[in-house]
Each structure stands twice: as structure tokens, then as C-alpha cells.
């Protein structure tokens, strides 16, 4: 057991170091900071002095070491485009992204699980067929197109909901929330649907196939033979047993929701980290890019680590079986 945990943990650290190396090497190829800071009237001596002060004459691994130490402390330098420290910019943007992502995940669960249960219990009803066909359409619609269509219908044609921004936000310490104002809630609806729809279809299909699988097992047949009510069988026995994979997949998908929020934020001009990142990519704003990369990698690595550990706790078979490949 401890060997497995330590091994997973070391792997996570290696992944983070590789991502940090990528983020660090971005700096190596873009511009010459000495040139930028000195201007054109600098003497060669000044140049050498500043290079030394900035530590740019030191070997690669020493510079990388300093980069990692700073990154661990949350220091990624100053944004080239906005001129503020990257850590401050990201901290301002985190609440927007997290609120959106969590709402989308909740929507996906709240609609996906019931829809999956229904299509699993009555696979041949017309409603189940309709839901399944719709879900195939949902998979084929790219996220950004869903967002555009929603804007077109609900914001432009009907004028019911705002099409961009976050509405009024209320500060709670360093956190800002849009959940407490009317305009904030109204602005949240369309982005949440956009971001949650794909995950919703995913969860629905997963619950459906798990339900179909479980309903075929002997213990369900036995429960029916015992004369239990449909309700007790379907929800007490069947649904319960489908939930383990659903929970793990949802956990793993939380990371992708945060990553996919880049697209939704761009469509709705939602002031989160993803919008910051995509603007940084088009302006080649290296400090912001590298900071976002490291942050998102940290989120993913942490989620994967937790899910792996949970698997280990939940599923005793893994304790004997191969600890090598990641469970999928």
C-alpha cells in the first residue's frame, strides 16, 4: 500500500516537473529581457552587469531550479500585456472559472443521472430513443457552436438572458461571486448549459450502459424473485451499484470541465482564467501562458492522484493487481 502511494506521488511530481520544464523553456525562446530592459543606449558593460544581476548567465539547470522554486511560491513574473503580476491576475480570475465549472458539473449530474436511469430502465420507449438521438447530436455539436446558438436564440432573438460577461459580482474577501445578484445568476445560465451539455451526455450514456449491465446480473433477478418493489430494485440495488464509475468519471471530468471552460469563456467573454489564457496565447504573453499551464497541470495531477487513491480504497482487487497502468 505505501509503495503504491509513494510511486503514484513520485509520478505526479515527475509530470509536474516536465510541465514546468515546458513552461520554463517557453521563456528561453522569446525575446531577450536584457535588451528589453536596457534600451538602445546601454554599454556592453551595463549589459553584462544586468545579465549577471538577473541571473541569466548562470547554467540552465540553476535557472530552472530558481524557476521551480518561484513557481512553487506562486511567482511567475509580470504579464507582458497587462503589466501586473501573473499571480494577482490569476487569483482575480479563479472565482469566475470555478463558479462556472462547478455549476456546469452540478447541471450535468442533476440531469445526466436521471436521464441515464430512465433510458436504462426503459431502453425501448420512444422517449429514451429520442433522448439517445439527441445525445448523439450533442456529441457532434462542438461546445462553441452550442454557445453561439444559445446566444442567438436566448440573447439576440428573445432577449431573455445576457450574452456576455458575469453580471454584477459581490466580493467575499478575496473571492468574488456572481451567485448573489440577479444579473449574476442570469449571466450564469447560458455559459453553464454550454459547458455542461457535453458532460451531461457523457454521464447519461455512462449511467445508461451501467444500468443495462447491472439489470442483467443475478442479484437483480434474485431481488425480483423476492418480490421487492420496482422502486427498491431500481434505485436501492441497481442505481447504487452504477454510482462508483459515475463518481470516478465525474471526478476525472472536473478537470476537463475547467480546461474546456477556455472555449465557453471565449464565447461568452466570461472573465475567467481560460479567457486570460487564450488572450495570452494570441499575444504570446509568456508569463501568463506558463503560469496557466502549471496551474492547470497541477489541477489535473491532483485530481488524477485523488481518483487513483480512491480506486485503491474502493476496489480491493487493485491492491493485488498491477499497480502500473492508470485505471481507465
Amino acid at each position: 500500500m505505501p509503495a503504491f502511494i509513494i510511486r503514484r506521488f513520485l509520478q505526479a511530481i515527475v509530470v509536474m516537473l516536465v510541465v514546468a520544464l515546458v513552461a520554463f523553456s517557453l521563456f528561453q525562446y522569446v525575446g531577450d529581457p536584457v535588451q528589453l530592459m536596457m534600451g538602445q543606449f546601454a554599454t556592453p558593460d551595463d549589459r553584462i552587469r544586468l545579465t549577471h544581476e538577473l541571473g541569466l548567465d548562470r547554467p540552465f539547470y540553476v535557472q530552472f531550479y530558481h524557476f521551480v522554486v518561484n513557481a512553487v511560491h506562486g511567482q511567475f513574473g509580470v504579464s507582458l500585456r497587462i503589466g501586473k503580476p501573473v499571480s494577482v491576475l490569476l487569483a482575480q480570475r479563479i472565482p469566475a472559472t470555478l463558479e462556472l465549472s462547478i455549476c456546469a458539473a452540478l447541471l450535468a449530474l442533476a440531469v445526466g443521472i436521471p436521464a441515464g436511469v430512465y433510458t436504462g430502465l426503459r431502453p425501448n420507449s420512444w422517449l429514451a430513443r429520442a433522448i439517445l438521438s439527441l445525445s448523439l447530436l450533442g456529441v457532434s455539436l462542438p461546445t462553441f457552436l452550442i454557445g453561439i446558438l444559445l446566444i442567438l436564440v436566448f440573447a439576440v432573438k428573445l432577449g431573455w438572458l445576457p450574452a456576455f460577461g458575469r453580471g454584477d459580482v459581490v466580493p467575499l474577501g478575496w473571492w468574488t461571486t456572481g451567485l448573489l445578484t440577479r444579473s449574476g445568476l442570469a449571466s450564469l445560465i447560458l455559459p453553464t448549459i454550454t459547458l455542461g451539455l457535453f458532460q451531461l451526455t457523457l454521464i447519461m450514456r455512462l449511467v445508461r450502459s451501467e444500468m443495462l449491465e447491472v439489470l442483467r446480473t443475478d442479484y437483480i433477478k434474485f431481488a425480483r424473485a423476492r418480490g421487492l418493489t420496482d422502486r427498491a430494485i431500481n434505485f436501492g440495488h441497481a442505481l447504487k451499484n452504477t454510482l462508483v464509475p459515475v463518481i470516478t468519471i465525474t471526478g476525472l471530468q472536473l478537470g476537463s470541465i475547467i480546461a474546456f471552460s477556455i472555449i465557453t469563456e471565449q464565447v461568452f467573454q466570461w472573465p475567467g482564467m481560460g479567457l486570460l489564457f487564450i488572450q495570452a496565447v494570441s499575444y504570446v504573453d509568456i508569463p501568463v501562458m506558463s503560469a496557466y499551464l502549471c496551474l492547470i497541470a497541477l489541477v489535473f495531477v491532483t485530481i488524477n492522484l485523488i481518483v487513483d487513491l480512491l480506486y485503491y480504497v474502493v476496489d480491493p482487487r487493485l491492491r493485488i493487481d498491477r499497480p502500473g497502468a492508470a485505471p481507465r
Binding site: 517557453l26 525562446y29 462553441f144 453561439i148 502500473g324 497502468a325
Partner: protein, 308 residues
């Protein structure tokens, strides 16, 4: 090699699959839609009513015309025009061409990369296998769009000036690299099975070079499932390309793909010119849906054979 391939192809298109195709209305409809998309994309320069990239043909007085059936529409521009007076139908045909080209090229790239790494991992085993599969596991824990965005961002940082002219290759590279894992895992799995069979052992006894065994003997036998993955992957690759272009990091507006067209049209959404963005979007969805349906059908049709 060529003989084996044609034999394999004929084998997989035997009566079973053909029968299943004839009896699946979805598959037939999807195939027709897909062929229409491919046909109109390939022959875009000849069938498009206008050439949207010929500056001499553009007339700003034609800008932002609504579709022909609405008030103010012009029969010369069936789906309306954009802000520069370009015919939407023609830009869609040319855009589909680029979307499809990027999609197919990046799938081929993914396939080449994934199949060779999977073969190497499965056939050589040991440390090579452990390393390749470790990398695959790590990459699999990140969404493909993020990997593609990262590679695109790095490429932008590396080639600050020349980016627009290289955009196509950068896109193919970034989408291709983001998709190799699935191929590698599948191929590795079937290679592990094939490796133990007599024909491979015989080839080894003959002293044939391992690379030749992998390429000539093992490869044709593990290719079946790869083709199924590739079909569905084309749809994913097209969506990824459209998404990257929509985010503004894909192909430049001078050579628009469907994603770029949607991005450009998005600016006109609020002023009421919905056709500029809606029609490219519909074209994208039809194309992707057709490929997805075809892929689903192909998987189901081949599945009983794969199990035996």
C-alpha cells in the same frame, strides 16, 4: 504488402459488412451526406458560385446581404454574404475543404505516430514499452484540446513572425500529437497477441530484421481496429480544428476553415446578421454528424468479426 492490403480490404468489405450497410438507413444516409461533403469540398473551386478569395470579384456594396429567400436577399448569393461581400455558400465550400484537409492530415499523422509507437511498445516490450505507455498514460489524463492548444502556443512562441504561413502545419502537428495515444494502446494490445503466434516466430527464426517483422507481418494484422478508430477520430479532429480556429489560434482568416468562418461571423451575431455564423456552423455539424454515424455503424458492423 500491396497484395496483403488489398486482400485485407476485400476481406473486411466482404458480404457481411455490405449486408449490414444495405440494411442500415442511418449508415446509408450518413454515407450520402459524407460523400456530398467530401465531394463539394474537393470540387469547391469548380462548383462554388463565386471565388471568395479573388479580390477582383469582391464588391463591398454586396456586403452583409441576407439569404436569398429573405427581404433584400440576392439570388446570386443563396446563403447571403459576409462583411466583405463574400458569398457565404462559396466560403463554406472552401472552408469545408480546409477543415477536411486538416482533419484527415492530422488523423493520418496521429495514426502513423500512434501505430509505430504501439508496434514498438508491443513488440519490443521491456523498458521501451514501459516508457511509451507511461507517456501515453500521462497524456491521456489531459484533454486533447488542451494538448493541442499547448503545442500551438509553443509553436507560436517559437515562430513569432512566420506563424500564419505555417499555421496549417502547426495545426496538423498539434492535433496529430494530441491524438496518438488511442492508436498506440490499441495497436500495442493486438501486437502483444500477434507476437506470440507462429508466423512471427517463424519470421524471427528466418533472421528477419525486427523492424521488417513489425512492418510487414505484424502491421497488416493489427490494422483492422485502427481503421475504425480513425474514422471516428476524423470527426474529433475536425471539431478540434474548428475549436482552435474559433479560439483564434488556428488557420488565419485569409484562408478560413469552417471554425474561422464561425469566429468571424460571431462578431455579427448581435447586429442581427445571423447567417454569417449559422450556415458554416450547420455545415460543420452535418459533416461531423455524418462521420460519427458512419464510424458508429462501422464499429458495430465489424465488431462480431473482431471478437472471433
Amino acid at each position: 504488402m500491396a497484395n496483403r492490403l488489398t486482400a485485407a480490404l476485400r476481406h473486411s468489405w466482404d458480404s457481411d459488412v455490405a449486408w449490414s450497410f444495405r440494411h442500415s438507413p442511418y449508415a446509408i444516409a450518413a454515407a450520402v451526406a459524407f460523400l456530398l461533403c467530401v465531394g463539394s469540398a474537393v470540387f469547391a473551386p469548380w462548383i462554388a458560385p463565386h471565388n471568395p478569395f479573388d479580390l477582383a470579384q469582391l464588391d463591398l456594396s454586396n456586403s452583409l446581404k441576407p439569404p436569398a429567400w429573405l427581404d433584400g436577399g440576392d439570388a446570386a448569393f443563396p446563403l447571403g454574404t459576409d462583411d466583405q461581400g463574400r458569398d457565404i455558400l462559396s466560403t463554406i465550400l472552401f472552408g469545408a475543404r480546409i477543415s477536411l484537409l486538416v482533419g484527415i492530415c492530422s488523423v493520418l499523422f496521429s495514426m502513423a505516430l500512434g501505430v509505430s509507437l504501439g508496434l514498438l511498445a508491443g513488440y519490443l516490450g521491456g523498458k521501451t514499452d514501459a516508457f511509451i505507455m507511461r507517456v501515453a498514460d500521462v497524456q491521456l489524463s489531459f484533454p486533447a484540446i488542451l494538448i493541442a492548444l499547448l503545442i500551438d502556443g509553443v509553436a507560436r512562441a517559437l515562430l513569432p513572425g512566420a506563424h500564419d504561413s505555417m499555421a496549417f502545419y502547426v495545426l496538423v502537428l498539434s492535433i496529430g500529437v494530441s491524438g496518438w495515444v488511442q492508436y498506440a494502446r490499441t495497436v500495442r494490445g493486438s501486437t502483444l497477441v500477434e507476437k506470440g503466434k507462429e508466423y512471427v516466430q517463424a519470421a524471427r527464426l528466418f533472421g528477419i530484421h525486427p523492424l521488417a517483422i513489425m512492418g510487414r507481418h505484424v502491421l497488416p494484422n493489427v490494422l483492422g481496429p485502427v481503421l475504425v478508430i480513425a474514422t471516428i477520430h476524423i470527426a474529433t479532429a475536425i471539431i478540434t480544428e474548428a475549436t482552435l480556429s474559433f479560439l483564434g489560434v488556428g488557420v488565419p482568416p485569409t484562408e478560413p476553415s469552417l471554425g474561422t468562418l464561425i469566429r468571424v461571423g460571431n462578431d455579427f451575431l448581435f447586429s442581427g446578421e445571423w447567417w454569417v455564423t449559422l450556415f458554416p456552423g450547420v455545415a460543420l455539424v452535418v459533416m461531423v454528424l455524418a462521420i460519427n454515424l458512419l464510424g458508429d455503424w462501422l464499429r458495430d458492423a465489424l465488431n462480431p468479426r473482431l471478437r472471433t
